[in-house]
């Protein structure tokens, strides 16, 4: 029984991995150190967004505002730097703004009972609008070298973004596995009424998860613009889909209560390699979303189908 569960859970992403490998073997230069480092750097941004997404997916939520938060928070930091402020202080403020947006999402969801997809979609659109206002409709650039270095330099042969992603992965894993809050996040995803009956403040859990989600999205946005050396108001657009895709492909349940931080990182790597392969095959980025979207439907479809089949067959009389 247990063994079979594992098989169905990962069968979908095995297929995708094989597809990526086949694509890789046909593309010259796919398995070079430079390319792998490059993909890891790109995938790190996706992974951080996916970590954020995992936190809220577990409590049966979703964040549809990732793109807006990524753009706006980076815009705030970039704007401050252009006005001569300290690089680290500017980044700190940008991240703090992300946290505040997350708290607002959490409050809307837990106190006013707005469904997560509406609350986050709206705040995402508002922050996207604000990013356009701050950047006057176009991208800003000319940030200090130190900032650009953070997005592009290696540390011990590994990109700095990847290090940051690893740190966030460790922190998230510790939170989910070894703190009461983490255990309550899973419990909330499983059965909210039980959590309430235990006298646990379920609203606090939601606010916590969404705040952390906002914080992570902001970090991802700032790292992305550091890597690009510009802040573009729509820079986060594709990460919205990628974050959901990475979590689901990694094995986080859309229905809440199940998933782990490492799963979304694995998922992000898969999505990263998939995008890279598509890039190298010179497929128009506009078509790439089509592939990623199809991948989500495939993975979710297969897992739901298998789950139903199994529940039917596993019944013992």
């Amino acid at each position: 029984m247990k063994k079979r569960n594992i098989k169905t859970k990962y069968i979908a992403y095995l297929v995708i991995l094989i597809v990526a490998c086949v694509a890789g073997s046909r593309i010259p230069g796919f398995f070079t150190v430079t390319n792998i480092l490059n993909v890891t750097r790109q995938a790190s941004t996706i992974a951080i967004c996916a970590l954020a997404m995992t936190l809220v997916l577990i409590i049966q939520g979703i964040d549809l505002g990732t793109g807006g938060v990524m753009a706006f928070c980076a815009m705030v930091s970039g704007f401050m730097m252009l006005n001569g402020m300290n690089v680290f202080f500017s980044m700190f403020v940008g991240v703090a703004v992300g946290l505040v947006i997350g708290v607002i999402n959490g409050l809307l969801i837990s106190r006013i009972n707005i469904p997560p997809f509406i609350a986050t979609y709206v705040t995402g659109q508002i922050t996207l609008g604000l990013a356009l206002v701050v950047g006057k409709g176009s991208s800003i650039s000319g940030m200090p070298d130190l900032y650009v270095a953070i997005g592009n330099q290696l540390f011990l042969n590994i990109p700095i973004n990847t290090w940051i992603m690893i740190v966030l992965l460790v922190i998230t894993t510790i939170i989910l596995k070894y703190t009461r809050m983490g255990k309550h996040i899973y419990a909330l995803g499983g059965n909210e009424s039980v959590v309430k009956a235990e006298g646990i403040n379920s609203g606090m859990i939601k606010i916590f998860a969404f705040s952390l989600c906002g914080l992570y999205s902001a970090i991802a946005g700032i790292l992305l613009s550091a890597q690009m050396a510009t802040v573009h108001p729509t820079q986060g657009a594709s990460y919205q889909l990628d974050a959901v895709a990475a979590s689901l492909v990694g094995g986080v349940s859309m229905l809440g209560g199940e998933g782990a931080a490492w799963m979304s990182v694995v998922g992000a790597l898969i999505i990263g390699f998939l995008r890279n392969a598509l890039d190298m095959l010179a497929i128009d980025p506009f078509y790439q979303n089509l592939f990623i979207g199809a991948a989500i439907i495939f993975v979710v479809g297969v897992s739901v189908f298998n789950k139903n089949k199994e529940m039917e067959k596993a019944k013992v009389f």
């Binding site: 070894y178 009461r180 499983g190 067959k313 009389f317």
Partner: protein, 503 residues
């Protein structure tokens, strides 16, 4: 024996979802109820649905506050703000609906909300060790605390719920219908556990609709009726007829008064029907105007069989012959069109939409008939609903009342109304009287008899043997996914014979 708990003059007005009194209401759910509990006794609470048993226990368990009255625990005033506080004071509640997170393992369910910590982090080692100890202590050495809840059977989940309640060192344990989803063997085990708890000085308040259990486990019994405590008596004076009379306020004579006639024409014939890939094939038939009982344990495949015929579950080979022709690839839509109706076991999940009003629920299965020129004819809908409400004696304020506000028995009647409205020729009833009071049961039996009189065939799945024997013209007993026994009317229909073929 020392009194551990006293509840005096408890009054509760009708309340909203937060347990607060609804403004301006004078409707009392509980009206000056008195109740007490001695140390180490099992005090049974009986009463019809809506008599106030659950409300009284919710007040004791801290889920809702009382509007008037006092409570004393060990002679000291007892006042709690929530279930958590009640549990810390030693009052634990084992709910009828399981209160567990199915995605977590057993140990984390037991310790939910009070996970032990070491250096600020959750101490998993202690959680598993302590859970192991609790499970051992109550005789479940074979259950691994690391098992994820959804891999357990309902009975086992119930065990976890009980162990969780006891892990708080509870002195008072409230059990609301603990045997509702248990099999005979599991019930015996539960009773053993209760006896063991008693010897440890734990007091138990036991709520059940199954009269035959009460005598086995109970020491004393309190009868509630219409929110008032009618009488408390010792089990030594147990007299079922008297208790039933006190519960309903009148005596029910002849619960099963069947006057319908079986016609000599098969409406349904099932051949070599397999409900699972590895189960034995089932062959059975049902005649017009016949009530066929389907007995067996919970989980023996009765519901799966019914759902397979109705077309909401896959089956693994076999033929269904309905009204003389083969019924291929059944689906709910086709079944309804052909005149098959299925009243599911859990009315709140796939029977009724409780957040909708009565008339909408009644018209749901026959909604197609209510359209005129592609527009829903509301007047017709109301007319039909009103007729059905009257016919089935649904007690409600109006047909616009939400189904969630009705008592269990009346909800069941609405479910009957919904399916009768679709004018069925074959009615499949899955546990038609589960969790409803004896008065409503009698009415349901009468409804069934009336339906059968019109030539409608009925398949009735039931776990209650008296009901199965009393209502059925013929009984099939199921065991492990197939039929183990068929009993005809002229044969001996005894509880012993049925039981022997279920295990």
């Amino acid at each position: 024996m020392a009194k551990i708990l006293e509840m005096k003059n408890i009054t509760k007005y009708i309340f909203d979802e937060y347990g607060k009194k609804i403004n301006g209401t004078t409707v009392k759910i509980l009206n000056g109820v008195n109740f007490d509990l001695e140390e180490g006794e099992v005090h049974v609470l009986v009463g019809e649905n809506g008599a106030g048993k659950s409300t009284l226990m919710k007040i004791l368990g801290g889920n809702i506050p009382a509007d008037e009255g006092e409570m004393f625990l060990d002679g000291k005033p007892y006042f709690v703000k929530g279930p958590r506080e009640a549990r810390e004071k030693g009052v634990a509640f084992v709910h009828q609906e399981l209160n567990l997170c199915l995605n977590l393992d057993i140990a984390h369910n037991i310790f939910l909300g009070r996970e032990p910590r070491k250096n600020g982090f959750v101490d998993h080692k202690t959680i598993y060790k302590k859970s192991r100890e609790y499970l051992d202590k109550f005789g479940f050495q074979d259950i691994d605390p690391k098992t994820i809840m959804h891999n357990l059977s309902t009975a086992r989940q119930q065990v976890v719920e009980i162990v969780k309640a006891l892990s708080y060192d509870s002195r008072i344990l409230i059990m609301d219908e603990p045997t509702a989803s248990l099999t005979a063997g599991e019930i015996d085990h539960l009773f053993e556990l209760i006896r063991d708890l008693k010897s440890r000085g734990v007091s138990i308040i036991y709520i059940s609709h199954r009269m035959d259990e009460l005598q086995i486990v109970g020491d004393r019994l309190t009868i509630l009726r219409d929110g008032q405590s009618i009488e408390t008596l010792s089990m030594k004076d147990y007299n079922q007829d008297y208790i039933v009379k006190q519960m309903v306020g009148r005596t029910i004579t002849n619960l099963f008064n069947c006057t319908h006639k079986v016609l000599d024409e098969d409406i349904l014939k099932v051949e070599n029907f397999k409900i699972g890939p590895n189960t034995k094939p089932i062959s059975m038939h049902v005649k017009k105007g016949e009530i066929v009982g389907l007995g067996g344990l919970v989980g023996s495949g009765r519901s799966e069989f019914a759902r397979g015929i109705f077309g909401v579950r896959n089956y693994f080979g076999g033929t269904i012959i309905y009204k003389g022709e083969e019924y291929k690839k059944p689906s709910a839509e086709k079944s309804i069109a052909k005149g098959i109706a299925y009243l599911s076991e859990d009315r709140k999940i796939d029977g009724l939409i409780v957040a909708k009003d009565i008339k909408e629920n009644i018209s749901m299965a026959s909604i197609k008939k209510l359209f005129r020129y592609h527009v829903l004819n509301n007047r017709l809908e109301r007319k039909e609903a009103e007729a059905k409400i009257k016919e089935l004696n649904v007690i409600c304020r109006s047909m616009d009342q939400l189904v969630s506000t009705l008592s269990g028995g009346n909800q069941q009647k609405v479910l009957f109304a919904k399916w009768l409205e679709s004018k069925p020729d074959l009615l499949i009833l899955d546990e038609p009287t589960r969790g409803i009071d004896i008065n409503a049961k009698a009415e349901i039996y009468e409804i069934m008899d009336n339906i059968a009189k019109q030539g409608v065939a009925i398949i009735m799945i039931s776990s209650e043997l008296p009901e199965l024997i009393g209502m059925s013209d013929r009984i099939y007993v199921m065991r492990r996914g197939s039929i183990s026994l068929e009993i005809n009317k002229n044969e001996e229909m005894t509880q012993e014979r049925i039981l022997a073929n279920t295990l």
